[in-house]
Symmetry: C2
Subunit: 340 residues, 2 copies
């Protein structure tokens, strides 16, 4: 396939604070020949996710840092163009971690590197969102850490995002009350009117701890039993100020601190006072739960019961700006880049 040119976006430098376009570099390389066991995929969608910001740093984290001068890593969905592996044929729709580029070569012998997906009832892009990693993240944190009982109140931050929107709907399906926290009236309206949450608090209107705590108190008159935390910082502090005895926090992200110094937790003694459990998790470390999660999520999307939204940027070049926007909360639902 040496007649094909592959365009990709590499990490050119590590951001200090907020990433800028200058941290990325667009390069063109020939699409390589593939060897035995490999599959060449034309990518249709790239997934942009907040966790990528953490990997752009060089510090200690749960994953190796994104290497400099290499293609940005990330989930993707596409179509098989060439296959030298018996499990894949041309035209198969697949997902994998193809990164920020138009064409990706996968070693299909590596377990889980490339997976066929059925697009007859579920759109290809949904496998990067509601029926993919973000959906399973929501499912795991909600069912395995928060484990809500009927009539308990579950609060989720970044509620209009890919993960948050699923958390609230899955909580409602279990008979719990779902309250979102999101930035802006549009997002809050969407969370309540389209996703069916019981309430949503606009953190932009309540920008200090006292105000946000009070707004959450009104939205959660019976207190908070479960918190799916994507944001951290002030939002987590306000949740903790309303936490019930024996409440659970599934700590999934701390997006508020991704661009700078660690943000402290104001009153950790509340963990003791309220006998809380605060637990961090990374969904990729719990593969045994993925089949059950994907079954529920897939059925939800196929039947239309589980709603989701996508913000789609067009073209590879749009990825850096779309990613910067994601970190600023400009997206509604799952942030994707469409390549074809």
């Amino acid at each position: 396939m040496s007649n094909l040119i592959n365009r990709q976006i590499q990490l050119a430098s590590r951001p200090t604070g907020e990433p800028t376009a200058a941290n990325f570099r667009l390069v063109e390389t020939p699409v390589p020949e593939i060897s035995d066991g490999q599959v060449l995929v034309r990518q249709h969608f790239m997934s942009l996710d907040p966790y990528m910001r953490g990997r752009m740093n060089d510090g200690k984290s749960y994953a190796l840092p994104q290497p400099l001068d290499k293609v940005m890593e990330g989930g993707s969905a596409g179509e098989v163009l060439l296959s030298r592996h018996p499990d894949f044929v041309v035209g198969d729709t697949v997902i994998g971690r193809g990164g920020w580029q138009q064409y990706a070569v996968f070693d299909a012998n590596q377990r889980g590197a490339l997976q066929k997906v059925d697009t007859s009832r579920i759109p290809l892009s949904a496998y990067l969102g509601a029926v993919g990693m973000p959906g399973v993240t929501a499912w795991y944190g909600l069912t395995q850490i928060i484990d809500p009982k009927a009539d308990e109140t579950v609060v989720v931050s970044a509620a209009a995002g890919a993960v948050g929107s699923a958390v609230g709907q899955l909580a409602k399906a279990r008979g719990a009350r779902a309250v979102g926290i999101a930035g802006g009236a549009d997002k809050c309206r969407y969370v309540v009117e389209e996703l069916g949450f019981d309430a949503c608090v606009d953190y932009k209107v309540h920008a200090d701890l006292k105000s946000l705590t009070q707004a959450l108190k009104q939205a959660c008159p019976m207190g908070i039993d479960g918190n799916f935390e994507n944001v951290g910082g002030l939002v987590l502090d306000a949740v903790m100020a309303n936490a019930n005895a024996f409440s659970r926090v599934a700590l999934c992200g701390t997006i508020s601190g991704y661009n700078g110094a660690p943000i402290p937790m104001a009153a950790p003694s509340l963990i003791l006072v309220n006998r809380m459990k605060v637990q961090g998790f990374i969904v990729s470390e719990h593969p045994q739960h993925w089949p059950a999660a994907l079954k529920e999520l897939g059925e939800g999307v196929a039947s239309g019961k589980l709603k989701y939204r996508e913000t789609v940027a067009q073209g590879l070049e749009s990825a850096p700006e779309a990613f910067i926007g994601l970190l600023k909360g400009r997206n509604f639902g799952k942030q994707l880049v469409k390549l074809v």
Copy 2:
């Protein structure tokens, strides 16, 4: 018994910051007559515990505040002087929550209010420490939250205290490595040489986060898998900076913040980065675990395997100063007041 005078210490005012002697008041009252179902106990030992400081505030907590102008509440051990309940006879050694006074009347029909204890192999005072609430606290947090595996490293703060000294010994008995944090060379020597911990870090020598983090790193070359946290603040921050993936924090106390404003947690994002579980607990809420805990603790003390130390203040009047000293870490092991 109207010929007997009961002396008691009441809470006269709520402390702001560190308690002082002026917050307490010594009063004399007649020992009341007892009614059917009641038991009069001459108290031998009063238990002083850090949790009492929290109850002296009027704020929201897991227990009702200590009432003003009433006898200070707390655990105690003594001997039955008069009984109008069939389960108790004069001379029985008992424990209950008799408070800071020489004589206490118990409603023995109230389940658990008064319990007979066998002092043939275990000293009466130990039922307020290693074989009482502090011991069970250690046992619960260690076995039910930290659940250490062999060769894992468990760190406990306030390691020379009643709870901490049991935590490390119980961890060692399970094949784990036990590292203490304590204030002063004497305490650290005791923790290692007498209690058998593998190491102990003197937080007074390492008074800032960087230094304490580094000292813990040296004491825990394989990182920290479990943390039994009695102190909070800087100590917890330094533990978290050395936490391994999937480590567990049993949050039992935040004594460093008892006297003032809440102390923040510096880097809660580490809970996510290290996929930690941080869980607060109150041992009295888990009565189903007490029998197993007391069995192990009692056998340990009776056989001499489970070591403990007591700091005993003499006489009711010494209680306020002994309590103030406890909050400053002046005690070695269990802080008691001896009344006879």
